[in-house]
Structure formats: structure tokens, C-alpha cells
Amino acid sequence: MGHIQLKGVKKNFGDVTVIPTLDLEIEDGKFVVFVGPSGCGKSTLLRLIAGLEDVTEGVVEIDGQDATGLPPAKRRLAMVFQSYALYPHMSVRKNIAFPMKMARIPQEEQEQRITEAARVLNLTDYLDRRPGQLSGGQRQRVAIGRAIVREPAAFLFDEPLSNLDAALRVGMRLEISELHKRLATTMIYVTHDQVEAMTMADKIVVLNAGVIEQVGSPLELYREPRNLFVAGFIGSPRMNLLEGSVAEKYDAHIVGIRPEHIEVSAASGDWTGTVGVSEHLGSDTFFRVNVEGFAEPVTVRADGDVDLHYGDTIHLTPDPHQLHRFDRDSARLA
């Protein structure tokens, strides 16, 4: 079980409010990602759930029980830190055994769980090494191993992949997703990387300045961002947000259109512009197009083999059904 509910939770650091009153429900077995820019309060929120920080107001419930006053050790949650936070003076085996030792689990069962975790995480050959002798990816696996053996109600991940290089990050992303499928335990994952959020989450919580901007499945957020912030934050490259006469034409303050929802044509279209910088990814190419009368260039996605060059004149037509309209308060218009 791992059903977590935050009711009216608020957090102040001294006179500064980092999280204004907030409610959130995390269903059992879900993979929930907290995403937002640096300093948006996502890590603080995770630490409030973990019990590493005390809430200023409100209640944290775990499986229907009030856990607000419980110390971290009593909440049956396991955490994986950004810095791995392994115990450098202990071998991998002892690192993984540590939570079980603290829980006074019999030696035999400890051995059994260590063997199993090491097998799952490909750490069997490294059990007698010290953390200092491992690579970043292996260290992260040890940290995950240490979390698994506790058989927690939920796993908390605090930006666990940000210290890894790009290739390893993709690999570990898949491993964590697989682990979630296999264990079916609630996981709460904090990241500033919206690609990680999109690829891993059942449910994404977008945070900005301590406030939840939107909660939903990755595709819900992608297709129907509730406000400008979510529209700009989710999706890579980001959504084109256009102001002024273009927006007025659609009866909005700002209109948003994703790069893949703009049709490119050499002959005719709604907007005319010249090709600027392009990014060739092989499967796709993203062009920055300087459209006449627009303040900022528009990003457009085209096939990988489209033959366009810097300075070419092209025509663009946005798909009207995929247009997102926002009002003066940056809220989505129906």
C-alpha cells in the first residue's frame, strides 16, 4: 500500500512561504512526477512527505493514517537522493543491508533480500566494493537497492538522474520505469527535466513557485495545458506562444501552437517567413522561422529529409484544431 494524501499542507522557511496551502492525492501504485523549474518547491514538497522537513500547517496522510508528526523512519518510505547519499565507509552489501539492520530484520532474510536486489540491479559482482570504487550509474543502483530492500509503502526519488551523463540517464530512466512496473509500488519522482516527467509518469504534478499549476497524465498536460506556464513548460521544443494581432485574430490574448502542428509549404500558407537556424535530429528537423510581423521566431517541426536552408522563404499554416488560446490571466480559454 502507498496511498499518500496532502491536506492543506503549507511550508514556511522563517518568514518566507515556499509552499502556500496545497492539496494533493497520490493513489496507490502510481508513478507520480513532480516537475517544475529550480526553486519551485518540488524537492521541499518531497521532503515534507518524507518527513525530513516539518509542515508548517496541514496534514500528511499515508495509507489513511496521519503521518504529520511521525519521524522519517516511521513513515515506511524509502528515498533515493540526487547525490546518492551512500555511506562511503561501508561496502555495497552493508549499504544495502543498513535499513534492514536498523529494522532488526534477521540476518538470513537480510542476505536473501540483498541477493535478490543485487540480482535485479546487476550489482552481484560489486557487493564487496566500496561506493567510491563504483561508477555513477552503479552508485545510483546501490541507492535504489537500499530503497528496495526496505519494501516501503512508497519510493521517493529526488532528482536521482541529474548527476549522470545523458546516455546513462536514458538507461536508468527505463530501469526505474521497469522497476515500477515490476514492484507496482507508489513512486514519487522529482525532476526539473520535463522529458523525464513525460516518459516516466502516470501522473505529472507541475509546480511553480510552490503552487500546483496542473495535475494530469503526460498527454493531458501536453494536449490541454491549463495555463501558459504548463503550456510553456511541457513539451520539447517548447510551444510557440504568440501575442498581438495573431492572437487577436483567434480572439485570445496569447495563442500557443506546438512545432508539430504547423504545416510547412514552399508555395502558400497563413504566415510567411524566412528559415533561420535548424536542428537536424535525423528523424525530425526543427526550424526556427522568422515570420514577418512576429516578435519572436516560430519553431516548426518537419520531416528529417526536408530540404530547406538558411534564408529560404517558406509559408506556414497552423492547424486551427491544435491551437491553444489563453486569456490575459494566462488561463486557458475553452
Binding site: A50, L52, P71, P72, A73, L77, A78, M79, F81, Q82, S83, A85, L86, Y87, P88, H89, F98, P99, M102, A103, R146, R150
Partner: protein, 277 residues
């Protein structure tokens, strides 16, 4: 050559460093030399002492016969180890709380602790003497353990605080998440990680306590007198006995000098801990 250090420049530096080292070591060397002379020879002119006189171990024999070296030695041992151990018991929790749960005024508290070291000890001699007299702990080893622990406590706390600050907070939080109680967190994670720093703290404090002469001389008479009092007893109003004084000094500093020699690697490592990552 990165800095253009020439051979001649290097040799000048080496010679200068050697001379400086010799200057610093010379008093100790001179004490050792004098301790192997007779009282008559020991007051002669320096060059005559070095080249014109014989060598003898008689001062050592006299010193041991006149005053019980081993009693003083064991007093020194108990007082320095005892005060360091007691200091650690108090300093570990204090440094832990200041390093990991600092409050607004933690820095002020640290400065205040250090400021007590700036106070001349003689300023508080009378009140402390009176307190010791009333408590009946004058000339007792436990009394000295307490007073030396107190005077060295700021240093122990400061050193431990610095070492603890080097330990990432996330590791302690991980221990907390792993179900460790505060005691388990300190015993299983914090202390093992701070061992190098703690070792040099212990070594330095044993040395400081071993060499402490103000309180040990003023608060003891015969029973609890450590080696500092043992040396002092040879500079009497009746006249100085250079050879015996030197022999006593050599016997008093030899143990701590040897300990310092064998642990210098640890000491230097601990004192520069965290300076280079």
C-alpha cells in the same frame, strides 16, 4: 619549469628552512644534551659543554630516586586521556547540533566559545581555586580532568564542528530515512565518517592536556601532580639544577613527543582535512 624555480634558489630555500627548523628544535636538543651532563658541567659555557665535558646518565638516576616519575607519568596519562574522552562526550553532541541543525545564533555561540580561550586563565584562578577547595577536589585527578576538559572543550567543539560540516547532510538524512535513530545515525554513520578528524582532535587534545602547566601546577600539590609539576619541582628557590631539570624535562616530554612523532601523518591529515577536496 612552471614557476622558474632555479636550482640555486631551491638550495637557498632548503638551507633557510633547515636553519629555521634547527632554531626551533634547538632548545629541545639543548635540554637533551644538558640532561646527560653533571650539574657542574651544565653551567659551563655552551661550547665547553659541547666539546669539553664528558657524558653521564647520573641525573636521570637522581631524578627517578628523588621523585617518583611513574606516579607523575600515570597522573599525566589519566588526566590527558580522561579530559579528552570526557570532552568528546560533550563535544560530539554539541558539534553535531551546531553543524546539522544550526540556529540563527550558532555562529555567535561558536565565537563566544572561542572567546573564552582569549581570557587569561589567571583571571579566573581565584574563583576556580575556591570552587575546587569547597568541592574538595583540589589536588585530585578528577578535578584536573574536569578543569582541563573545560579549557580544551572550545577547541574540541570547534574542530569537530569543522569536520562534521564536511559531511554531506544528505547522507545523514539517508540514514534517517533508513530507519536509524539519532543515536544510530551518530554511531553508524557520522562518527565512522568523521574518524580522521576525530583522531586528530583526540591527538591534539591529549598533547594540549599533557603540556598544560598553569592549572596543573596551581591546583595540585603532591597526590595528583602530573609531569609538568614534576619538571617544575626542579626549579626551586634554593637554586637551579640544570642537569636534573633537563633530565626531568626529557622524561616528561619524551612520551608525548613519541606519540606526536608516530601520529604526525594522522595529525597533519586531520588538521588539513577538507582543505583539498
Amino acid at each position: 619549469m612552471a614557476r622558474g624555480v632555479t636550482i640555486s634558489r631551491k638550495s637557498v630555500n632548503t638551507i633557510a628552512a633547515g636553519v629555521l627548523g634547527l632554531l626551533m628544535f634547538f632548545p629541545v636538543l639543548w635540554i637533551v644534551i644538558l640532561s646527560f651532563k653533571t650539574e657542574g658541567d651544565a653551567i659551563k659555557a655552551p661550547l665547553e659543554i659541547l666539546f669539553g665535558t664528558g657524558w653521564t646518565t647520573e641525573s636521570y638516576g637522581t631524578v627517578q630516586a628523588r621523585s617518583d616519575y611513574f606516579k607523575h607519568f600515570s597522573n599525566s596519562l589519566i588526566i590527558s586521556l580522561g579530559s579528552t574522552f570526557l570532552g568528546l562526550l560533550i563535544a560530539v553532541p554539541a558539534a553535531w547540533s551546531m553543524a546539522f541543525v544550526p540556529a540563527k545564533r550558532t555562529k555567535d555561540v561558536l565565537m563566544w566559545m572561542l572567546s573564552t580561550k582569549m581570557l587569561p586563565p589567571v583571571g579566573v584562578l581565584v574563583p576556580i581555586y575556591l570552587i575546587f577547595r569547597d568541592l574538595g577536589i583540589l589536588d585530585t585527578r578528577s578535578g584536573l580532568v574536569i578543569v582541563l576538559m573545560l579549557i580544551n572543550l572550545p577547541i574540541i567543539i570547534w574542530m569537530l564542528y569543522t569536520y562534521f560540516r564536511e559531511i554531506p547532510g544528505e547522507i545523514l538524512e539517508a540514514a534517517r530515512m533508513d530507519g536509524a535513530t539519532l543515536r544510530e545515525e551518530v554511531v553508524h554513520v557520522l562518527i565512522p565518517m568523521a574518524i580522521p578528524g576525530m583522531a586528530s582532535t583526540v591527538l591534539l587534545n591529549i598533547i594540549l592536556a599533557w603540556n598544560e602547566a598553569f592549572w596543573t601546577l596551581n591546583l595540585t600539590a603532591a597526590k595528583a601532580a602530573p609531569l609538568t609539576a614534576f619538571i617544575a619541582s626542579y626549579s626551586s628557590p634554593e637554586g637551579l639544577f640544570y642537569a636534573k631539570l633537563s633530565a626531568a624535562s626529557v622524561m616528561a616530554i619524551a612520551p608525548i613527543l613519541m606519540m606526536g612523532w608516530f601520529s604526525q601523518k594522522q595529525l597533519v591529515r586531520g588538521l588539513t582535512f577538507g582543505a583539498v577536496k
